[in-house]
């Protein structure tokens, strides 16, 4: 099925060759002349996508699909999101929550005969999915569900594809059978017929102009006594039998819904990956331009430390998150008993972390290109517009960071970890091991501090008081989410770099160290306020990070440019004239 999906996607890709069955990768550029003493970019690129080869037998189709979506992202974010909504959110939900009787719909979706949408969010209910108000009442007389939008706040909102193109939607609604509310369930609802006319009782409207992402036709849905057959219920975890009885192997309503949406993490991963992909494009464009743009004489602007600090840290962070995503995809494919929970936490942390980094990195890239970064043709500005949705869709970042922190705190409270370990004075030798230890220690410190406050509150006023303490300290909770993400992402970078071909390791180790040092800088207060690091150690740390930037910038950014080439984005997908042409000949 994925293979057919790919074929459909390929039709949209125009000049882009994606990937052949023999596993050869994206069309890519020849080695840049500047990188002669470094591993050639294709070796870099092979490494960055190597899991395709290592695990091909079991995961080839999955990763091939992910790679295709990455390529769509390079072309245009709206195209990637529209494809993701259709194939991953709608198709993925039907595949995961439905059963064999729903496969005809999937086949029709694979050929784009039946454009799909994902009807979860409501005007009044974004983060609080359990609180949706759309109703589905089972009518035993006709063996149908009757779906309704009881009030305007219950209208489905932000639903990609709904304004113009979607013919079906995976609609989330509170199911009532025999007068009993069984919680949210998902139904396949037909919105439009083959001619684009609304089905009886359905009304959709366009959400109107947005900051960006104008290629996605987001819309609103109202349902008025819409009748769907008994088979429209996606029934892997719950069925209504012919006798009109509701059955589910999971008795608890919340647990049941948790199981259902627990599997729908692929969307979140795609958002994280899209943010990483945008950073690849932004860094490549800005670094290439900065190496070719003089100001005040012949000196290229890439030679300024302030430029290097922004662009090279952005590059290192982009590598870090790309490799952490690579690891996560392997976990998704391999599965296993605890995979679900792990995937939820990792995908939450990486989605929030990658998209917040993306905001900063693209903004830095835009500013480092001066006015050229504001011209649409140079792509960075429009990417900022299009992608600004990613910090709040598929989970608000602040809420996601709290979800990363919550299980850490629950475990710490349970384990009685109510006092912080005495701060160890760990003077820096500025190696990767030391950096990893420091990042892990910050996570532990924040966990213990918060857990202690929660336990103390609970001891005084009961479990609700413990939860209130969590709430009163949401700023520190968010910091803990970040600390987890920093530690996890650095560890992933370190592990992946260690598995790289020897010729790549010096460059990857340099990048990983730069990323790790800047994450310690971001959490500097924790180290200084506890005495774990002295002011002099921090000074040395800054100097080291600057020295790494100087290394990346040597020879007018020879190494940095080669690392950008390693992303393997061909010039015709980079597009920006300042990156692939000569800005000197620019004529409006």
């Amino acid at each position: 099925m994925a293979s057919r999906r790919l074929a459909v996607l390929q039709q949209h890709l125009g000049g882009l060759r994606v990937q052949d069955e023999d596993g050869s990768e994206l069309e890519r550029q020849a080695t840049s002349a500047a990188a002669t003493t470094l591993p050639p970019p294709d070796q870099m690129f092979d490494f960055l996508t190597r899991d395709n080869k290592q695990l091909r037998a079991q995961i080839f189709e999955f990763l091939k699909f992910q790679a295709a979506l990455e390529c769509l992202s390079f072309c245009d974010y709206s195209l990637a999101i529209k494809s993701g909504v259709h194939f991953t959110l709608c198709g993925g939900t039907i595949a995961k929550l439905g059963t064999e009787k729903h496969h005809d719909v999937l086949r029709a979706m694979d050929t784009l005969e039946l454009p799909g949408s994902f009807g979860m969010t409501e005007l009044g209910h974004g983060s609080n999915v359990m609180g949706i108000e759309t109703t589905a009442v089972y009518d035993p007389a006709t063996q149908e569900f009757i779906l309704n939008t009881p009030n305007n706040e219950a209208s489905k909102f932000w639903i990609g594809g709904v304004a113009q193109t979607a013919r079906i939607s995976a609609i989330f609604a509170q199911l009532t059978v025999n007068g009993k509310n069984e919680g949210p369930h998902v139904f396949i609802v037909h919105l439009r017929d083959a001619n684009g006319n609304f089905m009886p009782g359905v009304r959709c409207a366009d959400n109107g102009p947005k900051q960006g992402l104008l290629g996605v036709d987001n819309g609103q849905i109202w349902l008025n006594n819409v009748r769907v057959p008994r088979d429209a219920l996606l029934d892997r975890y719950a069925t209504v039998d012919t006798a009109g009885n509701y059955r589910s192997p999971i008795a608890n309503v919340q647990q049941r819904f948790g199981t259902m949406i627990g599997g729908l993490t692929t969307g979140r991963m795609l958002i994280a990956q899209g943010a990483v992909d945008a950073c690849k494009i932004g860094c490549t464009i800005a670094i290439r331009y900065a190496a070719d743009r003089p100001q005040f004489g012949d000196r290229p602007i890439l030679s300024y430390l302030t430029h290097q600090r922004r662009l090279f840290v952005g590059l290192a962070t982009t590598y870090a998150f790309h490799l952490a995503m690579l690891q996560l995809k392997q976990v998704v494919v391999k599965g296993g008993p605890d995979a679900g929970k792990q995937i939820h936490i990792v995908s939450s942390g990486l989605k929030a972390g990658a998209t917040w980094h993306r905001v900063k990195i693209l903004q830095d890239c835009r500013e480092c290109c001066g006015g050229m970064g504001f011209l649409a043709i140079n792509r960075i500005g429009p990417m900022l517009n299009d992608m600004n949705v990613d910090t709040t869709f598929e989970g608000d970042n602040t809420v996601l960071m709290a979800q990363v922190a919550k299980p850490l705190l629950d475990a710490a409270v349970k384990a009685g970890m109510t006092s912080a370990p005495p701060p160890k004075v760990m003077e820096m030798d500025l190696c990767k091991t030391c950096v990893g230890r420091l990042l892990a220690w910050r996570e532990q410190m924040l966990t213990a501090g918060l857990a202690a406050d929660m336990a103390a509150a609970a001891a005084k006023g009961g479990p609700n008081a413990g939860m209130a303490a969590f709430d009163d300290n949401l700023d520190r909770v968010t910091q803990l989410g970040w600390a987890w993400t920093d530690r996890h992402t650095f560890a992933a970078f370190q592990a992946e770099a260690a598995a790289a071909p020897a010729a790549l390791q010096p460059a990857l180790n340099l990048l990983a160290l730069l990323y790790g040092l800047t994450r310690i800088e971001a959490g500097v207060e924790c180290y200084l306020s506890t005495g774990a690091l002295s002011g002099d150690a921090i000074k040395a740390l800054h100097a080291k990070a600057n020295a790494l930037c100087r290394e990346l910038g040597a020879g007018n950014g020879r190494l940095a440019l080669a690392l950008c080439d390693g992303f393997g984005i061909p010039d015709h997908l980079l597009q920006a004239p300042i990156a692939v042409g000569n800005w000197r000949t620019f004529e409006g």
Copy 2:
């Protein structure tokens, strides 16, 4: 003249009443019911614009014009920029660098008969204005200047108004008289005739689509043997007499050009003010929506600490910069012997600071509104797009921060301030005086540390080595620029708050303290690494900042909402349905 400008602007304002000669302010909304125990918004607003009244006799026209541009900013940033380019950049340059013979042009500009543009930036020369390459050679035979674009990099680029509307331009060009280059001078060049046809030798092109600001027709200019009369030279600081001799009271080329562009700081001030105005709109929209938006039951999202930390700090920062700008405008109007240098430094620091804060504040506002912040109709997203130019135009922010730091360092090196004062342990009593002292101390610490490194380098390798040390430490130089801006802005806030009516002072003092504390948080490393503040003091500081947020958020944001009302932006200029309507009834 300003009065006629205002009349022209008013024609564009539609429903907006700006300001009557009797000094009554913008049309504004009645007091919000939520603010019953607080000073009414109009008292707040009178305070925020009070200099109009205090200094009316001398500065009324100037501030009235500034106020009108602020109102344009509230309507649409493109309209404000287009007006600013015409009246301030082009008209202001002709007024300041020209003489009486140029006043006919100004009169034609005031009626919009002669739309103007500002031809300084070139494709190859943004920050390096001295390095422009457009040439103007005096031809004694015809008493004309002959202007040329010698190569494509010398084409005028980003020139607002040039793609479609501008008929004249204040063109910066390297002047050669009798074979001698006298450095950059400014000439009035006619680009188009009354029918919109290019004048002989002139060619213009559109810069093409941008990330935003699509209402400004930025363009490129090429000049090919364009002849302008001897009177086209703006000749306040340099003339060519009828005998063909160049005369200037300032002998040094660099000093002469410095004097010329030194007066052109009004544009930079308008950018800073535009950023502040956008933050007023963003904070008002986001805070009003958050107070009206429940999630997880009936609890409004404004009650979450993470929301308060973003929106209320944004609000406090917006007040801080508004009041600092108010002070700066008074300095501009009053003038005086040292005013020029002071205005350059203050406007540089406030422009860089206000626009960088603007990036963060609007992004926070956008995210705090969830998807609603991404909908164009709610304004925050489009403002992010339109305004993203402000971090690099009218001076790249990094370059501006270096310009703020440079004179501090020069003075410190000159005064032999080569070692940092021993860090004083200053435990916090968390009052405004203490915060002001801490902010000033951080600036001194950074100055002394950098000055010491520069002096040491100069002692070893001469003045060039000192300058190289400045360059090698551009990251710390930028931090010093920020430290200066934090200290200056806080001091302005404090002074202005002290002059406020007594009823307003508690609220303003609360906001000022919140702003100051968060600026200490931003520079926390300096305090902790030197031992000036202990970890416990910083912990107390965070707790105090959180407590201030809680105060602002009490009663579902009663005080915060009143402070937003204080900006006096009428609902028809706020526009956003989530701020002035009811999101519950939203239909696409």
